[in-house]
Every structure is written in C-alpha cells, then in structure tokens.
Subunit: 193 residues, 2 copies
Amino acid sequence: MVSTRERIVGASSALFMERGYAGSGLKQIAQASGAPIGSLYHHFPGGKGELAAETLRASGRAYQSLVEAIFDAAPDLVTGVEWCFDGAAETLRTTDFADACPIATVALEVASSDESLREVTAEIFEGWLRALTARMAAGGINPEPARELATMLVASLEGGFLLCRAAKDTAPMAAIGAAMVELVRGALPSNQH
Amino acid sequence: MVSTRERIVGASSALFMERGYAGSGLKQIAQASGAPIGSLYHHFPGGKGELAAETLRASGRAYQSLVEAIFDAAPDLVTGVEWCFDGAAETLRTTDFADACPIATVALEVASSDESLREVTAEIFEGWLRALTARMAAGGINPEPARELATMLVASLEGGFLLCRAAKDTAPMAAIGAAMVELVRGALPSNQH
DNA sequence: GTCTATAGCTTGATAGAC
DNA sequence: GTCTATCAAGCTATAGAC
C-alpha cells in the first residue's frame, strides 16, 4: 500500500533527478503522482520548498542504505568499491542515463540561492561521508585517511554521474572506478609505500 | 570595450552558475547585463536555448584555457594538479562558494530533457578531457593511464565543487586534491609498483 | 541595433465545495 | 482528505516604434 504522500515524494524525486528543482513544476509533480494539486498542498503546506526538503531527505536516506548494503555484502573493501561503480554504471545504462544522483542537481541549483535547502543537501552529504568513512575504517583503512578516501569516493562518483550523463556513455565511470580502486588498495596498511 | 553581446553572455554565465538554467529567467539575464530583452533576442534569435549554448561554449573555453595555463606554468605535473585544486578552493572561498563550474549545473539539468544542449555539454567535457590527457602525457604519464587520470581529475574536481558548495566549506576540495596528487604520483613511471 | 509593450502561457499558491 | 477553480506573478517570445 502506497500512500498519496509517498507517491508525491516519489514523483518529485524522479522529476528532480531528470529536470532539477526549478525545472520541475508542482503541477507536473502532481500529475505524475496521480494526485490533484490540492492534495499536494494538503500534505505539504509549506509548498514547493517543504516538498523538496522532504524529497531530498527521503532520497538521501534511500541512497545511503543502498551503498551501505553494497559494502556490507562485499567480501572486502576493494570489492565493495568496485561494486559501487559497477552498479552506478549499470543503473545509468538501464535507465537511459536518467537515474543518477537524486541530490546533486538540486544541490547545485540551490547552493547559492536557497539557504534552507542548501543546509538539507549539506546534511545528506555529511551523512553519506560518515557512513562511508565508517566502512573504510571497518575495511582496514587507518582513521585519518578514511575520511579523505570517503570524500574522494563520493566526489568521484558524483563527477562520474555528471560526465556519463553528459556523454551518454559509461566509459568515464569505468575509468573513475578503476582509479578509485587503486587509491583504496594503496591506502590499505598491508601495502608498501 | 565590451560589446552588448559579450555582457549578455557574461551575465548569463554568472546566473547559470548560481541558479542553473531553468532558474535563470531571460528578464533576469537582460537586467543583469544592462540590456533590454529586445537586444537579447536581436543577438540570439534562437531564444534561451541558443543563448545557453553560446554561454556554455564560451565558459567552457575560458575554463579550459585557465586549467591549461595552470599546468603550463607549473614546474611539473604533480605541482600542476596541486595548483588546480588549491585554485579551485581559493576561488570558492573568495566568491562565497558561488563561482564554481559554469557547466555542471546546466549539464545535469539538461542531460535528460534537452538533447541539443546535452550535446553541447558533452563536447565541452570531451575538450577538457583531451586537453588534460595531453598534459598528463606531457608530464610523463603513459598514454594508456593518461586518459583515465584526466577523467578522474575532472570528475573529482566537479564532485569537489558539489560537496564544497553544499557544505560551504573547502575541506572536501583539500581532501580530494591530496588524493588526486597521490594517484598521479603513483602513476608516474619513475615510481615502483 | 536599441528599446518598449504586450501576447500567450505556465508557475506557485489559495479558497472553498464536497 | 480530495478535488476544482482561480489568482497574481512569472516566464518565453514577438511586434513594431525609433
């Protein structure tokens, strides 16, 4: 059973990913969710900003769970990193490069123009970095470089989504994944420097 | 002497960077450039799409020249990479995190909704990758990993802009720069594997 | 080439019946 | 809670005087 509210957030998330925040109209979101515009304002009295904040938080949580599940299922850290980039490339391919990061486009749009939404995106990214830093440490990386590697992983994945969507080609994600794997491998204490 | 046309493109570039494509109105662009809306349609009969294409191409060329100049001025490849990330962090700091990549926000917005603008962004990124691949090779990196490292550099720089603007903090860029330097250093043939 | 006025449409948001 | 009708303001784009 999916509530009207959940359908609105789902439609909003999909449209934000494909067309961004300013490019997605409330009428469009209402239509895609099958609800009239009045229902939207019933569930989100704060209007578009409130809906966006809730959409970003829900998508951010879902993505974090997905990445955590990948790392928890992988036999070791390096394999987890490989699976992340392979999975991202696979998703891009099967959705005609529409399904990428649900936060990035909106985050860039609002960073300098909507302070309260900027804070929401900052909290989401910080949550991702904390979760990944913990996985890095659990995988054998020293505490200090763990945060740096987690940051590099998120940044390169986001940059990979950007380059792949622009080019309609997954080659950049493959190159970035390979580089990221080498970086993580080199940071494992078992390696010589 | 700056022509009306150049002022329109300049205002358009700044607004696209801060608010994106859909979020920047033509009236806003006209006002920021000091030209009436009629002049805008005189210089760009194709309307918003044509203005955006020209704005993206001009900003893309300017950014490519900037990065090329940094690498050409640096004493060696690793120093060039360091300067890129230091410069990016410095620009973010001095512009209150408004001045980042002039292509990324628009590229994500149009990737799945405007095919002709998507192609423009793809060409710009490809130009950057070619220029950086050449610099990597000139700096001593073997031909094969040169393109991979160039891709990683662009992706991590773009991801760094995203994380820094969202957090209003340059710490992510510093972490990413350090990781990127290590990656390039490890790929130099003078190093052991 | 520059500029004003405005058409035609869509936006975010609200009021109120049911 | 659901849905329709509507408002004021914004948008892109055009027409036409100068």
